[in-house]
Symmetry: C2
Subunit: 394 residues, 2 copies
DNA sequence: CTGAAAGCGCTTACAG
DNA sequence: CTGAAAGCGCTTACAG
């Protein structure tokens, strides 16, 4: 009987233990749920590392590393096995640890027009590039600029030669001179230098990425803005100011878009007159415009498909009649004319972001090995006197 | 003589050696210059590390680390000495190594309205937040959303309570309900929870950052667009569709900006009529507008200072006369009406970037300890049928 | 073809 | 108050 009692007590005790442990589990779970609810942060499962993969595959981390970076010297079977485990575990190497351990340096070259010319457009993309370079400096990236005169093909070719000579890991460039750029691209392909386009594009080349605007559509939008509240039977002037209009394809595309709008909307009954000014000096622009205005008296609007719209604005500022003026790019020279409403609208192409995303595209392709869009079309911004300030700050 | 010859030879030999070494130096220098010129990359001086600082100060790296992160337990003299050396050497700790070594996790809470309401605006900021969260995930950041119904103050208060309960390291929130948001801010201050505002602002609070638009100026711009090619003596309708207009300060600011433009430009001779629709159902909007249109026949433009402009567009689509319609935000519901030109202009406030920069502001303040602007005003974008597509992709 | 070890620049207990 | 050591997750010679 005593023995029985003892056994009974033992059982009770055991049950008690089991009960306790159940309770503990319960409490823990409860705590966990409570924790989740109140802290709102689900306990993240431990991050898997290259060591985990190595253990699972029964190899050393060195071998896993070889597989990850595809640098050979691994038997096909081992390779396959490791790859499978990586896939299953959704393993992604830690980029921070990778960069820290690696001594690899990446050298980028940036080949863009200089800003001292009569249009300061390129300052903004450079600001964006600087921002990106600063942000990613800890990835072991060095970047150097190479500038050229966009109206001087020899200067471009000289710099293009330097690019090839220095064999960078990546090239960011603005193919504003069509023919010369095609040649550089061919050299890059021969020398295995990956390249990204900014600002203008060469569609039929096999580039990594293009960052810029849809030039045709931007002209189309400009035409829409031109047509707002326009009197029927108006005459509109398109003024191309460029030394080599035929070699500057993005300007031609803007012209095309502009004309297309009025073809699509024939009810506007607009007459478009296009003039090309190949001498970009202010005096020549003034003289040319004066001659045009003498001939036809009822010009209601002017479209300048480049940042040099301020040259036309300077001329118009002397006139008495208000003529709607639309141009491109929020550069310093254009700002006073936007402020005094000589220029009504500027079409802007996010120059800072062009630069920023250009550098980031190189980083993504070459360092982070991340997929990204081949064509990154930036918004076509409409800038007026009223929203000007918030595009400057940004 | 032989000896002499030998000595002479020795001298010649020595000279030759010296000559060779000079040559080598020359060649090296030349090579270096050549290298620099052609490769365009200046040899970067070795990066200084915490170990260098420790060595220079004659202490261990542990002590340097204590000084860098100001966690005490260092004698004032040692501290001063180390600080001086850090300054002189322009030492910046390697953020990558720091994050890798540190096990610190940051918990962010994002408190924003939900999207299932009758306006899907908040999808875009969330997309931007997701993008940022993905980019910075390797910094040990966990983020959780908390949503509320922007027309239901009780729902906001419930979620605000959860925020305080879970004591996050940082809070990103949209103070759309003015009074309730002020209360949450006070709680945050009491509990030492840093916070960043997105979309709307409470100017008189001491927030880390505000990311959003200048609401007054956006209304001003809308008025300018309204005035383009408008007939004199027109009547313009401002339609506020909101259950609690008095508690939604950014909408009131847009109204103010809109009216200010016409005060500043009295030559337009515009009459503005404002109506508030507090029941946001389509039927009620239709009925209200119908009543208004019956009374006054010559309404030439309508301004809706919120994303609910599509409700007015639905009504106008049934009318024969073309009325200029301007509203806010590129949300799904508005797109068809922009495409068929019932809506002429949408003012957009970079919703994706609001979200993106909101998260980044928290990262900069809390993790990277980087200074950044208190007020980040995003551009006031003008969207039309013609540039719509490039704002969608972006 | 594979593994063991040192090292990247920092942080974190722990010992004194 | 201070230092030595282990470790974060990877890469890189080097040895076999």
């Amino acid at each position: 009987m005593y023995a029985h009692e003892n056994t009974k007590n033992l059982f009770i005790f055991l049950f008690f233990l089991i009960f306790l442990s159940v309770l503990r589990v319960r409490t823990r779970e409860k705590f966990h749920v409570y924790f989740s609810l109140n802290c709102l942060f689900i306990k993240r499962r431990k991050k898997i590392t290259i060591t985990d993969i190595a253990r699972l595959a029964g190899v050393s981390i060195g071998t896993v590393d070889r597989v990850i970076h595809d640098r050979g010297q691994v038997s096909p079977e081992t390779r396959k096995k490791i790859l499978k485990i990586i896939e299953k575990a959704h393993f992604r190497p830690d980029i921070l640890a990778s960069v820290l351990a690696s001594k690899k340096k990446y050298r980028f070259i940036i080949l863009i027009p200089d800003s001292q010319e009569d249009s300061s457009f390129w300052k903004a993309p450079m600001a964006g590039m600087e921002k990106a370079i600063a942000e990613i400096s800890h990835f072991g990236i060095e970047a150097r600029y190479l500038h050229f005169d966009q109206f001087d093909t020899a200067s471009f070719q000289k710099q293009a030669h330097k690019v090839i000579q220095s064999k960078p890991d990546g090239l960011l460039f603005a193919p504003v001179q069509y023919r010369q750029s095609v040649n550089l691209v061919k050299s890059c392909i021969r020398n295995h230098i990956p390249y990204v386009f900014v600002n203008s594009n060469i569609e039929d080349m096999d580039y990594l990425s293009y960052i810029g605007q849809d030039s045709v559509q931007s002209g189309y939008l400009a035409a829409k803005l031109m047509s707002l509240g326009l009197i029927a039977d108006s005459e509109i002037l398109v003024v191309n100011i460029s030394k080599q209009i035929a070699n500057h394809r993005h300007i031609l595309k803007r012209n095309r878009g502009f004309e297309k709008y009025f073809t699509d909307h024939p009810d506007n009954k607009i007459r478009i007159k296009t003039i090309n000014i190949e001498n970009t000096s202010q005096e020549f622009v003034d003289l040319t415009l004066e001659a045009v205005f003498k001939k036809s008296g009822n010009i209601n609007g002017i479209f300048v498909p480049s940042s040099r719209v301020y040259k036309v604005a300077k001329y118009l500022a002397g006139l008495k009649t208000k003529i709607r003026l639309i141009g491109y790019d929020l550069i310093e020279e254009n700002i006073p004319f936007l402020e005094n409403e000589t220029i009504d609208f500027l079409i802007s192409q996010k120059p800072v972001e062009q630069g920023y995303h250009g550098i980031m595209a190189l980083l993504n392709h070459l360092v982070l090995k991340k997929e990204c869009n081949k064509n990154i079309y930036l918004p076509i911004d409409i800038i007026t006197k009223e929203n000007l300030n918030y595009y400057l700050e940004y």
